[in-house]
């Protein structure tokens, strides 16, 4: 993925920046906070992450078990459907493929589910092979609740509503089931480079 650059080294020239901006997007200053509801504050001792749905058996990690999984540093450009983009954001997270290791499933799709009831749907193949993480650090600090902490999904190649904040698990499904925004006009896939914002895009 051209827009996931490992080893990002400070500011690029504005020409390079504009080539990294999908159609219809502008460069944000700061990190805008988007929220569709009250910010959950789940204590870490009550937090868990679960793989469920069309699987041979459910997998669940406590926060301590999740923290013991191999994590990666990620540098990625992120694109919000409300039209701001932010380049070279730095995260630490567990690759979703590590969470799916050993899971037997015939599923092709996933619904990510979060504290507060938010859901979003993605093809399973968009979550593996170094394309998605469950991120718990941003810019070297624990992920702030307003940005989705303690942990959020990070799928930088799709619009940011797919990167579910406060994520608590993945439900594997045989068919593509619309999540919260996808039920109400937003695109089932959400590729920013093809400007797939709404139904029919």
């Amino acid at each position: 993925m051209a827009f996931i650059s490992r080893g990002f080294k400070g500011r690029r020239s504005s020409a390079a920046d504009s080539s990294r901006l999908p159609p219809g997007q502008y460069l944000a200053t700061g990190f805008p906070v988007l929220s569709a509801g009250p910010t959950p504050h789940t204590p870490l001792e009550k937090w868990s992450f679960t793989i469920t749905g069309e699987v041979d058996q459910d997998r669940t990690w406590t926060w301590a078990e999740f923290q013991a999984l191999p994590a990666e540093d990620i540098t990625a450009d992120i694109h919000c459907v409300t039209k701001w983009s932010k380049l070279g954001t730095r995260w630490t997270g567990v690759p979703v493929s590590a969470l799916l290791e050993g899971v037997e499933s015939a599923a092709d799709y996933v619904t990510a589910f979060s504290d507060g009831g938010y859901t979003t749907n993605l093809p399973l193949e968009d979550l593996v092979d170094g394309k998605a993480w469950v991120a718990f650090r941003y810019d070297g600090q624990p992920l702030d609740p307003e940005h989705g902490g303690p942990a959020r999904l990070l799928v930088p190649h799709l619009y940011l509503w797919k990167s579910a904040k406060w994520v608590r698990g993945l439900r594997l499904t045989l068919d593509d089931r619309p999540g919260f925004w996808e039920s109400n006009g937003y695109n089932m896939y959400g590729d920013p480079w093809r400007e797939q914002r709404y139904w029919g895009d």
């Binding site: 805008p32 906070v33 988007l34 929220s35 569709a36 509801g37 009250p38 459907v81 409300t82 009831g117 509503w161 925004w181 039920s183 109400n184 006009g185 937003y186 914002r197 709404y198 139904w199």
Partner: protein
């Protein structure tokens, strides 16, 4: 195409729908489909820094309504509102 005398198509309610949704909606009372709380639409919790507008029940936080404005379309989901009482 043969149509029953009693069954009309949606054009028949164009007038009444226009009347209903032209009223002052902030004083309309909505009943939450989740907890049954009744409150004027002006007293709900609204989140606008999001891909769409999300309206929540101030008693139980359940979603009452979402409004998504696309380029040439608006999607209005009222599934969290069991009933609206409108004042004429």
């Amino acid at each position: 195409m043969k149509q029953s005398d009693l069954k009309l198509d949606g054009n028949a309610i164009a007038g009444v729908l226009g009347e209903i949704f032209a009223v002052e909606m902030t004083v309309a009372e909505g009943t939450c489909a989740g907890c049954g709380n009744v409150a004027p639409m002006g007293a709900v919790d609204v989140y606008v820094n999001a891909p769409g507008i999300v309206v929540r029940c101030s008693a139980c936080t359940q979603v009452l309504m979402t409004i998504v404005r696309g380029r040439d379309r608006t999607w209005l989901d009222l599934s969290g509102v069991r009933r609206l009482e409108l004042r004429s």
